[in-house]
């Protein structure tokens, strides 16, 4: 094998990290690239998630709800069912951290009956949009308010929803509350639908625990592309060894990457994970450097997928299955 010098390698990594920050804004163009890498990944053999019955479509009197991301749109849809049309500002396959608002977004917000965001720094573009537009009077639900937070790298980490027990315990009740407030006529329905969805999430969590239990305890170590998984790691008992991009848009320095390589080697990590919304080559480069042969490039977390992982529940199943397949 041709051993490139660490310096050369790190130079290459830095170039890709610059590319990755651009990737976020031009995701559709790169979806094909990611998809190609995905087809060769060892996790591609994972069985597809069980299909879920489609939610009933909303009528003309339905509420108009706008969410920042596709993940929250799916969760809200499960509580509102036929009583709301739910639209995500950011499309499937695109992450929120670097989202650049489009001209139509302000109008979408101005026409909404309820605006749903995560907060905790995930979707700050929303506040800018609201300040510049006319949606400032629309009722707003910030899902992350009140959720017990974990710090990651000195900041509150916003990825609460990647722990389904937090979605069941915090997101769903606050969605039921917001919908019942905006539309009290259907309050009983929101309570019932939300409770039924809570039941699904509890079942999902039980399933995911069982999948994680198949991973040898010593192998439950994660190295991921960005800092999406502290809540998931805490809940399912993974050790979070490190992330490649500590902040989307902020390049890791050569020193940081060299340190990560050392950390990953020392911890005996079995696989490196990246996400469908990012260019996978940076993760591949880190794996090469640390002598890791398994690179999974198709996790989902900030955005649902367009073809697979197109609901919150199927996304969670797919992530945990792919993690388990790579770490067993």
């Amino acid at each position: 094998m041709n051993h490139a010098s660490p310096t050369m390698r790190l130079g290459r990594i830095r170039a890709f990290s610059r590319a990755a920050t651009v990737v976020v804004a031009t995701m559709a163009l790169l979806a094909g690239v990611t998809g190609g890498a995905l087809a060769q990944s060892p996790a591609a053999s994972v069985a597809p998630a069980p299909s879920v019955a489609p939610l009933p479509s909303a009528g003309p009197d339905a509420l108009r709800i706008v969410t920042t991301t596709t993940v929250f749109a799916d969760i809200v849809r499960n509580v509102a069912r036929e009583h709301a049309n739910v639209v995500s500002i950011i499309p499937a396959g695109v992450g929120p951290e670097d989202y650049e608002p489009k001209p139509g977004d302000a109008q979408l917000l101005a026409d909404a009956d309820l605006i749903v965001s995560n907060g905790a720094g995930l979707d700050d573009f929303l506040q800018e949009l609201l300040e510049s537009g006319t949606g400032g009077q629309t009722p707003q639900l910030v899902l992350g308010d009140g959720v017990p937070t974990l710090m990651f790298d000195g900041e509150v980490n916003p990825h609460f929803w990647l722990d389904p027990s937090l979605v069941a315990q915090y997101y769903v009740p606050s969605i039921i509350g917001a919908l019942s407030t905006v539309d009290p006529t259907h309050g009983a329905d929101y309570g019932n639908y939300g409770s039924a969805y809570t039941g699904q999430l509890v079942q999902l969590d039980t399933e995911l625990q069982a999948i994680v239990a198949t991973i040898p305890e010593a192998n439950r170590k994660l190295v991921t592309f960005h800092d999406a998984y502290p809540y998931l790691a805490e809940h399912y008992g993974f050790e979070l060894v490190g992330v490649i991009l500590e902040n989307v848009g902020a390049e890791p320095t050569a020193g940081e990457l060299a340190a990560l390589v050392e950390k990953v080697k020392a911890a005996g990590v079995k696989a490196v994970f990246s996400e469908s919304q990012f260019n996978p080559e940076l993760a591949q480069a880190l794996a090469d450097e640390a002598g890791i042969t398994t690179v999974v490039t198709n996790l989902y977390n900030d955005a649902l997928g367009e073809t697979e992982a197109d609901t919150y529940e199927s996304m969670m199943r797919l992530d945990i299955e792919r993690m388990a397949d790579a770490l067993r």
Partner: protein
Amino acid sequence: MTHNPAAVELDEVSAGYGDRLALADVSLRVLPGSLLAVVGPNGAGKSTLLKVMAGLLRPVSGRLEVLGQPVGKAARRVAYLPQAEAVDWQFPVAVADVVMMGRYPLIGIGRRPTSIDRDHVQQALETVRMTAFRGRQIGALSGGQRRRVFLARALAAEPDLFLLDEPVTGVDATTQEDLMDVLEAQARAGRTVVASTHDLLCAAQRFHEAAFINGRVIATGPAHLVLDQRLLAQTYGGHVLILQGEGGTALALDDAHHHDQAPGHESHFHDGARG
């Protein structure tokens, strides 16, 4: 509106699903503090009437005011309880959480329940005698216990108007008595209760007023009129059977039945004519 606003006022309201009208030209005035039974045969439009009042079904025509406002505007002060059969209760949610859902419209967006909300939940559970079950899963309860919990959820919302679809159908006698005691206390406190029921004896004995419905309003009046044979015959057409008991009291059943010759002790009314 007049200086004495009705809790619910329908003026020539027609409503239905698709092309089929379930209710035609219904005019009805329900005063605050009423305990009103809506009676009528299957398919008479009782559920439709409650859904229209709850703002869940938009009338095809007519005018409708609820708590002095256009329907929907006062929705926060209205508690609607659908027929028990309409919902799947197999999900794992605790009794107290179900009752707390009644508080949500009052709590506001993005806020979490406070001790005041928890007190209301506790009180509502006491009222329906379900305090001991507060931590139990809703799916593990009997039908009668669930009915108590859902009434507690309605109570926790502190509504001025209760709209209840068959609240005492299919529950045991003790539960029925307890639930009616709760509703009666609410009416005495000035709140308005409108409930559909198949149980004509319960309607006659436990409600204060009755509305006879069969696609339209046949009659409204004091609840004891429920046992008026002429009104029953008019409301139920061929589907009423009146048994003359030992003490001369009449027992009326809403029940389809067939016969060639009525037994001697029964009076049958078919489309208004004794048969």
